[in-house]
């Protein structure tokens, strides 16, 4: 009659005489969807009945079920007549449809609970303390295999219960491994997935690996450049994936120059690099050092950090934007340790002109958005859900949201003496953070305890303590978040992806690698250049995009390079450098490149925005779009950016023609300028044939136009 209990041990059965809301009823509300977002878990409830989203607040749900409208939803005198049974079993009309049958176990559990006087249960005993899963990980030799997951809830009083049926099990990559309602996992294709198991606000994960069943795999060890390759290879070998070989020198040069500086190599640079006979690894390593030392490196990473810190005149005014951008530029040019840079931001105060880092607070202005930005950018943790309710997929609670926001609650802004100047200061009175539920004062508290405890002063300078805690080597999120984020800039995706959504249910594809990168970064005192140098020196980064029979389906484990569309600024600068024509931006000096623009105000609604330049309205990495769209294609084919550039009277084609270069030289030069490589024989012949078929100037423009429209130009590969 009560299978839930029968599944538990005999001892547990004897010790548990009653049905409680916490232990028995609340899970049913979650499992049958009552508390889901489209139903009664909606912010305004449904049809006058509101429950907490996914049941994160059982006390609230208990009161809603029992106290609303004088106990409308239950009938203690005649339990079977209770609305909370009649509706979900469709004895009376229920907009949410049939949730369980009248003769189901769920019905009986709720009936019993009402008949026994609707006890809430004791949180010290009946609350779920942990969710345990069996097996801990799933490995399948081939797609098509299946594995049953078992979910055990461990309660605060130490008892356990099999809750497989009530737990929610979801796959993060259903086309690799899917899971059915009975928690049976089936392998769909070769690859990896993670099962997220949820039960009553507690979580667990199960990694699933499905191997390639193809016979004949023999691991062929490739040279490893550094520890990155070691961790990548360990994983690849286990998954029976053979990594791609190194990309050729021209491809590497183009890729690394774009990734470090946002610019294309010039034809002469390509020629010189190809001609250099230094051993490959050393040659590439030297080039990397050179690129990092270039001013273009500073420009390019100033854009990245300007995006994340939302440096925009919309929030900061013109002078403020330039000041903030200059602060970012100097930090990058000096390779300021990342922790120092973040501490400077978080503890900045005073005039926004004198301490430009203070502009950090002028963008978000209020404590709560400032906290959300701080956690998302620097810790990779998204707290925003927890403002209204406990995070549905994470352990973050609404309390923690306000505890963290309390660190910024004393930060105030007031106008300065100059136009557009603002003073960031710490208020002396009435700055307490209040909980929205009952207006109680929430004292500041760190998200997680740090290995090295940081005392929190209960005064207006509390954010200094936050800065100390946050930007510390001991913080479990801080170094990991930036290491992962930097990695993503070179591979198109993070080891945890999205990079600013780090949570237990979004695990890293290669934890050992991420840990090693994190440790390397903290061992080198948050030297981001060191981190980048290590990444781009790895064989993994330098791998070709070509695939073999063992890695062709792999898109997650960095076994080969994956082409990425060039970013908006790089694309525009690439067109300019290939065509030898500078775009003219209003309000900035003539020679300014797209990468050097101060903020998204310049060139607004033009080519850059079409190609996904972020408007800096949010601190989310996702604001920069790398999508492909029809308007983009039309702009490339018909728009002025490319057609004007190729026809520029002072441009590359014009110069080549005026210099009297022959067809072979023109074709070679244009391939080098646009694709950073020499044309192969067939390409060279075909190109020359084309040039000789009409007016050379016009035909040369055609060729350059076509090269700039080709995938070989538009992508980083």
């Amino acid at each position: 009659m009560r299978p839930l209990l029968l599944l538990a041990s005999a001892a547990a059965l004897a010790a548990q005489p009653t049905v409680t809301f916490l232990r028995d009823v609340a899970p049913i509300l979650n499992k049958t969807g009552c508390t889901s977002g489209p139903c009664h878990g909606a912010a305004k409830g449904k049809n006058g009945f509101k429950l907490s989203l996914r049941g994160y607040d059982p006390q609230f749900d208990y009161e809603a079920l029992l106290y609303d409208l004088s106990g409308r939803r239950f009938n203690r005198a005649d339990p079977g007549r209770s609305l909370m049974l009649a509706k979900p079993s469709q004895q009376v009309a229920h907009g949410g449809g049939l949730r369980f049958e009248k003769d189901s176990e769920y019905y009986k559990v709720i009936y019993n609970w009402i008949a026994r006087g609707v006890p809430y249960g004791d949180p010290a005993k009946d609350a779920v303390a942990a969710v345990e899963v069996e097996p801990k990980e799933i490995a399948m030799a081939r797609p098509g295999e299946a594995a049953q997951v078992k979910v055990i809830a461990r309660y605060a009083d130490g008892q356990t219960r099999d809750v497989t049926r009530e737990a929610t099990v979801e796959s993060n990559v259903p086309d690799v491994a899917k899971v059915d309602l009975s928690a049976k996992v089936s392998g769909e294709r070769t690859g990896e997935a993670t099962m997220l198991v949820r039960y009553q606000g507690k979580f667990s994960t199960i990694p699933v690996t499905i191997l390639n069943p193809k016979p004949g795999f023999v691991w062929k060890a490739a040279a490893q450049n550094n520890y990155i390759d070691m961790h990548i290879d360990a994983k690849l070998q286990r998954l029976r994936i053979q990594p791609a070989p190194l990309a050729d020198d021209a491809t590497f040069l183009r890729r690394v120059t774009l990734d470090l500086t946002g610019q294309l190599p010039t034809p002469d640079e390509v020629r010189a690099f190809l001609a250099d006979t230094t051993p490959t690894r050393l040659k590439r390593s030297k080039m990397i050092d050179k690129l990092i030392a270039r001013p273009a490196y500073t420009d390019y990473w100033t854009i990245k950090w300007g995006d994340l810190l939302q440096s925009s005149r919309k929030y900061l005014g013109e002078k403020g934007t330039f000041a903030f951008r200059e602060w970012i530029r100097e930090s990058i040019a000096a390779n300021k340790p990342y922790d120092k840079m973040v501490r400077e931001l978080l503890t900045s105060r005073g005039s926004s002109y004198e301490d430009p880092a203070a502009n950090f607070f002028r963008v978000t202005r209020e404590p709560k958005p400032t906290m959300e930005k701080t956690t998302q950018v620097f810790l990779g943790v998204r707290m925003v859900c927890a403002q209204c309710h406990d995070h549905p997929f994470e352990r973050w609670t609404q309390n923690q949201y306000y505890q963290m926001a309390a660190f910024f609650s004393a930060v105030g802004l007031r106008p300065g003496y100059e136009v557009g100047e603002e003073i960031v200061y710490d208020q002396r009175a009435d700055y307490d953070m209040k909980h929205p539920k009952d207006s109680r004062v929430v004292p500041p508290q760190f998200l997680v305890a740090s290995a090295a405890p940081v005392p929190i002063p209960n005064d207006d300078r509390r954010r200094d303590a936050l800065a100390t805690w946050l930007a510390s080597k001991q913080n479990p999120f801080f170094a990991k978040a930036i290491a992962n984020r930097v990695w993503s800039y070179f591979f198109g995706k993070g080891i945890i992806d999205p990079v600013d959504d780090i949570r237990a249910s979004n695990p890293p594809v290669n934890p050992a690698l991420l840990d090693a990168l994190t440790k390397d970064l903290t061992d080198h005192n948050f030297d981001l250049q060191h981190l980048m140098r290590t990444i781009v020196n790895s064989r993994t980064y330098q791998a070709a995009i070509t695939t073999n029979e063992w890695n062709e389906t792999d898109g997650d484990n960095f076994s080969h390079a994956i082409p990425r569309r060039m970013g908006a600024e790089a694309l525009m600068d690439g067109v300019a450098s290939a065509a030898g024509a500078r775009p003219n931006f209003p309000e900035v000096p003539e020679e300014t490149t797209a990468t050097q623009l101060p903020d998204p105000h310049v060139g607004k609604d033009g080519f850059l925005d079409l190609f996904g330049r972020p408007s800096r309205e949010s601190a989310c990495e996702c604001e920069r779009r790398a999508d492909l769209s029809l308007p983009q294609a039309l702009n490339l084919v018909n728009g002025r950016t490319i057609s004007d550039a190729v026809a520029d009277s002072k441009g590359r084609v014009a110069k080549l023609i005026l210099a009297g270069k022959n067809d072979a030289a023109i074709v070679e030069e244009l391939y080098l300028a646009a694709l950073s490589r020499l044309p192969n024989k067939a390409e060279a012949e075909r190109g020359q044939k084309y040039l000789s078929g009409g007016t050379r100037a016009v035909r040369s423009q055609d060729l350059l136009w076509a090269l700039l429209n080709s995938k070989g130009f538009l992508y980083i590969y």
Binding site: L69, S70, R81, L83, N112, A115, A706, N709, K711
Partner: protein, 489 residues
């Protein structure tokens, strides 16, 4: 430079060449795009019913509406096709309504399943296929409906069974309403499908007024005590207004209205009219003597949970989850104005015994005291009629009463205590403790000396109104020995 048509042709040709034949496999230039899988549409069930003899359907004997069809309608259809929000104006919650059909016509044609809309929508012959957005019904279920229509679509529902036996209580029911009689001798208390009229000394129920409505949510005596008004109903099914003769215990009038319980029934001081609030956002007004409905009004935008008449019976005030306390002309039903500024969902209202001053309360936990009359013309956001805002309570407010000597205001709600305020000063006078959970009914004795409370825990408690000393507590329902049946119904 303009790019002519032929020129763009050349250029595109070149581009194709560069993309396709630059010595590498072209596919490697493109990112590995996500593999889009074709969504497998569920196979349409094959309708082979004509070949299947009816006996093979597992339907024994004559097809039955009550046994075969009704459960299917209940499980699969009535979520959308119910009186509260009838999609296509079709209501399948009763045979009569189902037979009536919706805006597309009759739901079925007896004897002709192939022409019946129900079958045509269930099979997908007509779009959209029903149930909307759900998997199609099992072929066996459609066959059951089809067989029943083919057999003449008869209604074989048993007549509504009415259980005349008094309810047996194993646990005290929640008290959702209680009211002291004008002579002070009795207290009327809600039960399950009945009202207990209890001696004020708590010594057993003098009367058990049994009815159909499962829940009684409001109770009011006429000024002379001869009539007892009860509003309630069965949740999500029907609302009922009952008018009882208190002497004989006879039900004088009963009116069923709306598809859900009714709230906040009140009677005019002159006894002429009764007002009651509904979940369809309406307020219905009845003539007490005849039980005839005079009119209904629809000014509110959410459930109407409380009502009270003015001293002279010529106006009444209704409060609603839409946050408004609306003043209505009792004779015509015309809306006069809002008594309050909209702040919070309102659950309860009570009136000063001798003046047109009301106290209202709800979700924001503050009782507000408002004058129903306005000294000057109203302006937008004019709150000059607010006389006083009392203390914030520990939970949303559900019950209010004003003692007939005008001295006290009692405030009850989700918090397990009742606060008594000095109505003149607004100061907290006493806090009545002892409840285990929320309070849904508070009523002063006619002399204002005592306060009766009832709520979640099913006990009536009587307090000294001046100091909240508990004088008595009792369970109005007779509790039988026995253990709960443990789920087996």
């Amino acid at each position: 430079m303009t790019v002519g048509r032929s020129l763009i042709g050349f250029r595109l040709q070149l581009l194709r060449y560069i993309n396709d034949s630059s010595g590498r496999k072209s596919s490697i230039y493109f990112p590995q795009t996500e593999s889009f899988r074709l969504v497998n549409l569920p196979m349409k069930p094959q309708f082979t019913w004509m070949l299947v003899p009816l006996v093979a359907l597992g339907v024994s004997g004559q097809p039955s509406y009550f046994r075969d069809v009704r459960p299917i309608l209940q499980k699969q259809c009535q979520g959308c096709h119910n009186p509260a929000g009838a999609s296509s104006d079709l209501d399948v919650t009763s045979f009569a309504a189902f037979a009536k059909g919706g805006k597309r016509g009759s739901a079925f044609a007896a004897g002709k399943p192939a022409e019946s809309l129900t079958i045509r929508y269930l099979t997908g012959e007509l779009k959209p296929q029903m149930p909307l957005g759900q998997p199609a019904l099992a072929a066996g279920d459609i066959d059951r409906v089809r067989a029943w229509i083919a057999a003449g679509a008869l209604d074989d529902s048993p007549a509504e069974t009415s259980d005349e036996r008094p309810p047996v209580y194993l646990q005290p029911p929640v008290i959702s309403a209680l009211r002291w009689s004008p002579d002070g001798a009795r207290i009327a208390v809600s039960g399950n499908r009945e009202i207990f009229v209890q001696g004020a000394d708590g010594m057993g129920a003098q009367q058990r007024l049994g009815g159909k409505a499962e829940r009684i949510l409001s109770l009011a005596f006429s000024a002379d005590g001869s009539k007892l008004i009860a509003g309630g109903g069965t949740p999500a099914q029907f609302g009922e207004l009952q008018i009882w003769d208190t002497k004989s215990g006879k039900l004088l009038q009963s009116a069923r209205l709306t598809n859900d319980t009714v709230f906040g029934a009140s009677i005019a001081p002159d006894g002429s009219r009764v007002a009651v609030g509904c979940t369809d956002n309406t307020v219905h007004v009845f003539e007490t003597a005849s039980g005839k409905e005079l009119y209904k009004i629809g000014n509110h935008e959410n459930w109407v949970l409380g009502s009270v008449f003015g001293v002279d019976s010529r106006r009444f005030v209704t409060v609603s989850k839409d946050r408004a306390a609306k003043i209505i002309d009792a004779a015509s039903g015309a809306f006069l104005e809002n008594a309050n500024i909209l702040r919070t969902e309102l659950n309860a209202v009570a009136r000063h015994p001798k003046k047109d001053i009301i106290v209202i309360g709800g979700e924001d936990r503050y009782p507000y005291v408002y004058n129903m009359d306005r000294p000057k013309n109203m302006k937008i956001a004019d709150d000059t009629t607010l006389i006083r805002k009392l203390d914030r309570q520990d939970g949303p407010i559900f019950a209010l009463d004003w003692s007939s000597d005008a001295a006290w205001i009692a405030v009850g709600g989700i918090a397990p205590s009742v606060n008594i305020y000095n109505a003149e000063t607004g100061k907290l006078s006493a806090k009545c403790e002892g409840h285990s959970a929320g309070i849904y009914g508070v009523s002063f004795s006619p002399d204002g000396k005592k306060l009766a409370t009832g709520g979640f825990d099913g006990k009536v408690r009587i307090y000294d109104a001046t100091n909240c000393q508990m004088l008595k507590s009792f369970v109005p329902a007779p509790i039988s020995a026995g253990t709960p049946t443990g789920g087996a119904e």
